[in-house]
């Protein structure tokens, strides 16, 4: 893809909700301090059975959402947990980018993720199992992920477009890529990309565990130790609830009073492995990294920070580091946001871009938890403590089941 307007694409607003904090200030502070929230999950519908055969899936859950006064109580009342997280997170980004000053017809929304309200659906099915004829009619609307598009567009008056896009654990970054294209093509002046909160039920937790994707057998009794991307003793990803929103605009079409931008989007790529399964492909990851760098017109050497996908998967982490090394990126600073946040699945790609932007803004890199014995010790890891570092060019990566790979290059706006 030839990018003729690479200097003009900016991120002008962000919003984030996670288990370690709601809002960019709380989120950034917790990231830098390495404050995690892992434990045995407590949200209704996350565990099954009764002791001693009960499940005890580990994860990081949002303690309680904080609702801005301006959000419609009527909308929130019928919104799923994913949708409530979407509304509060979009509210932050909307205010941040001052989107109220734009024409509603010139604003679009891409919600990244598919089937992200699973726990809510299971709760409903179990509640109405023996009285299906009385299931709430509103379920006919709310069971669809696109309900989040409807809710957000009603609350914020979005009149351009709103749709969902799915790419498994790359959904959040895929939404950003879609938003870029919508802005670049002139379809809208500003496009909101959201990584939706994946609300897993115990069914998904169990199957992901059985698949070997989700940990943790090894650290079942030590939740704080369980999430350890790139460490030799990792045994799978640990789930973490989150939702992220970024606003993308072209500098040339920003008609309102100056809104500071977080970064410039300089290169991006998506590519498939031609593989329906869960296993990653080094060749596929290399391809998107190289394409993104080429589009950004920068050398691998110019990348000074990588926010990797890094889930804690046995094979996924090794494959990703091989791709990074192959692309000549071994020199770049690297840390693992998921070691603190957990894996947000559909949200991860957006939330990790936000983590990158906030580190760029702070000229500081957050630590990586539990990286006691890195599988590639020679890389430039940020380990126990945050370090000062000015990011000029960052690379963020996402990978998803079904052979999807995405890569995104972000440049400091002052570059």
């Amino acid at each position: 893809m030839q990018n003729c307007n690479q200097a003009e694409l900016l991120i002008t607003g962000i919003g984030v909700t996670s288990a370690i904090g709601q809002g960019k200030t709380a989120f950034s502070s917790a990231l830098m301090a390495g404050q995690h929230a892992f434990g045995v999950m407590q949200r209704p519908g996350r565990q099954y059975g009764t002791p001693p055969g009960a499940s005890a899936f580990l994860g990081a859950e949002i303690p309680a959402l904080i609702y801005p006064e301006s959000l419609s109580k009527a909308l929130l009342r019928t919104a799923s947990f994913s949708a409530q997280a979407a509304l509060v997170t979009l509210h932050e980004a909307w205010e941040d980018a001052k989107l109220a000053a734009l024409e509603p017809e010139r604003i679009g929304l891409v919600v990244g993720g598919s089937n992200f309200q699973q726990r809510e659906l299971v709760q409903c099915h179990e509640s109405y199992r023996d009285r299906a004829c009385f299931v709430r009619p509103s379920y006919g609307l709310t069971f669809m992920d696109s309900d989040v598009c409807g809710l957000c567009s009603e609350q914020f008056g979005i009149r351009g477009f709103a749709y969902t896009t799915g790419g498994a654990s790359a959904s959040g970054q895929l939404a950003i890529l879609q938003a870029i294209q919508a802005v670049q093509s002139g379809q809208v002046d500003a496009c909101i990309a959201m990584g939706a909160l994946m609300d897993l039920s115990y069914w998904e937790c169990q199957s992901l565990r059985s698949l070997g994707a989700m940990g943790s057998d090894r650290y079942a009794n030590e939740p704080a130790q369980a999430c350890r991307p790139f460490d030799r003793r990792r045994d799978g990803f640990i789930f973490g609830e989150s939702c992220g929103v970024v606003v993308i605009e072209r500098a040339a079409s920003m008609m309102r009073p100056a809104v500071p931008s977080y970064a410039r989007l300089t290169g991006w790529a998506v590519g498939m492995d031609g593989n329906r399964n869960a296993d990653p492909s080094c060749a596929g990851e290399i391809r998107v990294i190289q394409k993104a760098l080429q589009q950004a017109r920068i050398s691998a050497q110019a990348i000074d920070y990588i926010n990797p996908h890094g889930t804690g998967s046995i094979i996924g982490d090794e494959t990703e580091l091989s791709a990074i090394r192959h692309c000549g990126l071994a020199h770049a600073h690297i840390n693992a946001s998921k070691s603190i946040l957990g894996h947000g699945l559909s949200a991860a790609g957006t939330v990790e871009v936000i983590a990158t932007l906030l580190q760029m803004q702070a000229s500081r890199l957050h630590p990586s938890l539990n990286l006691d014995d890195p599988i590639e010790p020679s890389l430039n890891w940020v380990r126990e403590r945050a370090v000062a570092h000015r990011i000029n060019n960052a690379l963020t990566l996402s990978i998803g089941f079904g052979g999807i790979n995405t890569a995104l290059c972000l440049q400091h706006d002052a570059e």
């Binding site: 109580k73 009527a74 009342r77 009285r131 009385f134 709430r136 009619p137």
Partner: protein, 82 residues
């Protein structure tokens, strides 16, 4: 069960779906739409009422009710004939 009982069930479910109606003094002439219930809310309120009454009828059978009083009348009649 008399008509007042049916009316009160509708009112209670309306309060459940729309918490802002908690202190509203429901009248037989009240219209759910005017009380702030959108089409989805109205369908939910009626379905919850049908469950409370253990009535299995299609929602379309109640489409002609113009206010809560008429809805209570219709539901009461269905109860009598069920």
């Amino acid at each position: 069960m008399n008509k007042d009982d049916v009316f009160n069930i509708i009112a209670n479910h309306s309060r459940e779906i729309i918490p802002a109606l908690a202190a509203h003094p429901f009248q037989w002439s009240d219209q759910l739409a005017e009380l702030g219930a959108n089409s989805m809310d109205r369908a939910d309120i009626i379905m919850m009422t049908l469950e409370s009454l253990a009535l299995r009828i299609p929602l379309t059978a109640l489409a002609n009710a113009k206010n809560i009083g008429e809805l209570a009348d219709l539901l009461h009649a269905k109860l009598q004939s069920s």
